[in-house]
C-alpha cells in the first residue's frame, strides 16, 4: 500500500512502515496494558509476522523519546528513561510549619536527644508520626540512635541544617528559661489572653468614663 519510500538515515536504508507495522504500532500504543505476542497475533491476524514487526519498531524507536520495550514476554511503549526528568518536575512550595510541628521541633531542640514518648510527656499532647516526618523531611531533625531503656525507643536530635535555618551558631544560643520568662513567653496562652482582655476593659471604661452618678 505504501509507496516504496526510501530515505537515507544513518547510512541505513529506511523503508516507510507498511500497514502491518502500523497496525502493530497502533495496537501497542492504544493498549491499556503490555501485550503478549499471542495477543498481538490475535489482533492483527496470523498472516502478520509479529516478531519481525516488533524488531522493526524497536529499531525505529531506538533513538527517539519513546522506546518499545519488552518486559517478561509483554511489549509496550514507554518514554525514554533519559527523558524522565522532564516528566517528573519538581515544584518548590513554601509552607509554614504547623503548631504541632513547631512545638515538637522546639522540644527536640531544647531537650535533645529525646524519644517520642518524652516529647509527648513534655508537650502533654500526642505527637503524630507525620509531625516527626515533616521535621525530618525539612532536614531539621534526625534519628540519633536508641535509648538504652526497655523498648529501646528511637531518639531524635536536631541537625546542622536546623542551626543554619534558625540562624544559631549552637544550641547554647537558644534562650534559656529565664530569658523566656523575661520575654513573657512562659505565660500560658489563655492567661495571657485574659490579661489582654482586662487591660482593654479598663481602657474602655476610662474612655467612656462618665459614671452613672
Amino acid at each position: 500500500m505504501n509507496t516504496i519510500e526510501h530515505e537515507v538515515q544513518d547510512n541505513i536504508i529506511s523503508v516507510a512502515p507498511d500497514d502491518d507495522i502500523r497496525g502493530l504500532e497502533a495496537a501497542l500504543f492504544a493498549s491499556t496494558e503490555p501485550l503478549t505476542i499471542a495477543q498481538m497475533r490475535q489482533m492483527l491476524g496470523d498472516a502478520v509476522d509479529v516478531g519481525a514487526g516488533l524488531a522493526r519498531l524497536q529499531q525505529d524507536y531506538a533513538g527517539r523519546g519513546i522506546n518499545l520495550v519488552e518486559r517478561g514476554g509483554r511489549w509496550h511503549f514507554e518514554t525514554a528513561p533519559d527523558m524522565a526528568h522532564l516528566l517528573r518536575r519538581d515544584r518548590e512550595e513554601s509552607r509554614k510549619l504547623s503548631r504541632a510541628g513547631m512545638e515538637t521541633l522546639a522540644i527536640i531542640a531544647y531537650h535533645e536527644p529525646v524519644s517520642r514518648a518524652e516529647i509527648e510527656a513534655i508537650r502533654g499532647v500526642q505527637v503524630g508520626k507525620g509531625t516527626l516526618d515533616v521535621l525530618m523531611e525539612a532536614g531539621w531533625v534526625r534519628p540519633a540512635g536508641r535509648r538504652e531503656v526497655p523498648g529501646r525507643p528511637l531518639i531524635y536530635a536536631t541537625t546542622p541544617e536546623f542551626l543554619t535555618h534558625f540562624g544559631l551558631s549552637s544550641r547554647r544560643d537558644l534562650p534559656g528559661m529565664e530569658d523566656l520568662r523575661a520575654a513573657g513567653l512562659l505565660e500560658p496562652v489563655d492567661l495571657a489572653m485574659e490579661g489582654l482582655m482586662q487591660q482593654t476593659d479598663t481602657e474602655s471604661s476610662l474612655e467612656n468614663g462618665e459614671g452613672d452618678g
Binding site: L87, S94, R95, G101, M102, G167
Partner: protein, 263 residues
C-alpha cells in the same frame, strides 16, 4: 449513518395507513421535523420543493392520524391550522393579500426547513467522523506527567522559642487564680440596699444605693443587681417603690419608715 436511517420512509414503502401510524408520532421531533421528512420524500432539492404540495401532504397526514383517533400533540394541530391558512392564502388572488404575504410566510417556512435540514446533515457528518475513543485512540496507558511538590518549610526562631514557651507554660503546675470579674452579686446588692434603705427617711433614687465611684461594667452590674435586690425587698415587704412614668427615676424607701409616717 444517514439521519433517516432509523425512520421509515413513509411514502415509498407500500404504505398502509395502519403501518404508518403505528410508528407515527414518536418518530418525529415535532411538526417541523415531520415537514422536513415529507419535503425530503418529494425527492427533489430542498430549494425546489413545492410548498403547496408539502402543505397538502402534511394536512393529509394529520387527517389520517385523526381518523385513526390518535391523540395529536397540540403543536402538530397548530402547525396544521397554520398550514391550512397558508394554503388558502396562497390560492387567493394577490390583490387581496394581507401583510405578511403568503409568499413571505412560505419563504419563511422554507428557510426554516433548510436550516433544520442543514443542521441535521451536519450532525450526521459530525458523528461520522473519526472519533476519539471509537475510531482513533489515545495512548492506552500514559505514564502521566507528575509534578513533585517539594515543601520548603518555613519557621522562624521567634516561632520556635514562642512554641517552646507555650509548651512549658501549658504544662507547668499551675495555681489557679480566678480573676475577679467586675460584678456586684445579688447577695451584695441585697445586703447593701437592705442596710442603706433603713438609714434613710425619705424617698431615695435607686442609683444612690450604688457604691461610690463605680462605673463601666461594674457600674452596670451594680445597677442591675440593686434593681433586682429592690424588687426582692419589695416582695418581702421591706421597701416601697415609686416611679412616675416609664423610664422615669425609680425611688424607694423603707417600708418601716412608711409605717411610721402613717402611725
Amino acid at each position: 449513518m444517514t439521519p433517516d436511517e432509523d425512520m421509515p420512509d413513509l411514502f415509498d414503502t407500500g404504505r398502509s395507513a395502519g403501518e404508518v401510524l403505528t410508528v407515527s408520532f414518536d418518530s418525529w421531533e415535532g411538526p417541523l421535523d415531520l415537514l422536513l421528512n415529507l419535503a425530503r420524500s418529494q425527492k427533489v432539492d430542498l430549494r425546489e420543493i413545492s410548498i403547496t404540495e408539502l402543505v397538502e401532504q402534511y394536512l393529509a397526514f394529520i387527517k389520517g392520524a385523526r381518523d385513526m383517533k390518535l391523540e395529536l400533540a397540540a403543536d402538530y394541530l397548530v402547525m396544521a391550522a397554520w398550514l391550512a391558512y397558508l394554503k388558502s392564502a396562497l390560492l387567493l388572488p394577490k390583490a387581496q393579500q394581507e401583510d405578511p404575504s403568503p409568499e413571505e410566510m412560505a419563504m419563511r417556512l422554507h428557510l426554516r426547513l433548510q436550516r433544520l435540514s442543514a443542521m441535521r446533515d451536519c450532525g450526521a457528518r459530525l458523528l461520522a467522523r473519526d472519533r476519539l475513543g471509537r475510531d482513533v485512540f489515545p495512548r492506552g496507558a500514559p505514564e502521566g506527567l507528575t509534578v513533585n511538590r517539594i515543601s520548603l518549610w518555613q519557621a522562624g526562631l521567634y516561632d520556635l522559642i514562642a512554641a517552646y514557651g507555650q509548651v512549658k507554660a501549658r504544662n507547668r503546675p499551675v495555681t489557679h487564680v480566678v480573676a475577679r470579674r467586675p460584678v456586684m452579686t445579688l447577695e451584695e446588692a441585697l445586703a447593701r440596699v437592705g442596710q442603706l434603705v433603713g438609714q434613710r427617711l425619705d424617698w431615695v433614687r435607686l442609683e444612690s444605693f450604688l457604691p461610690d465611684g463605680v462605673s463601666g461594667a461594674l457600674g452596670r452590674s451594680a445597677l442591675a443587681s440593686s434593681f433586682v435586690a429592690m424588687l426582692e425587698l419589695a416582695k418581702q415587704g421591706r421597701v416601697e417603690i415609686q416611679q412616675e412614668a416609664i423610664f422615669a427615676p425609680i425611688f424607694l424607701r423603707s417600708a418601716a419608715v412608711a409605717e411610721d409616717a402613717l402611725s
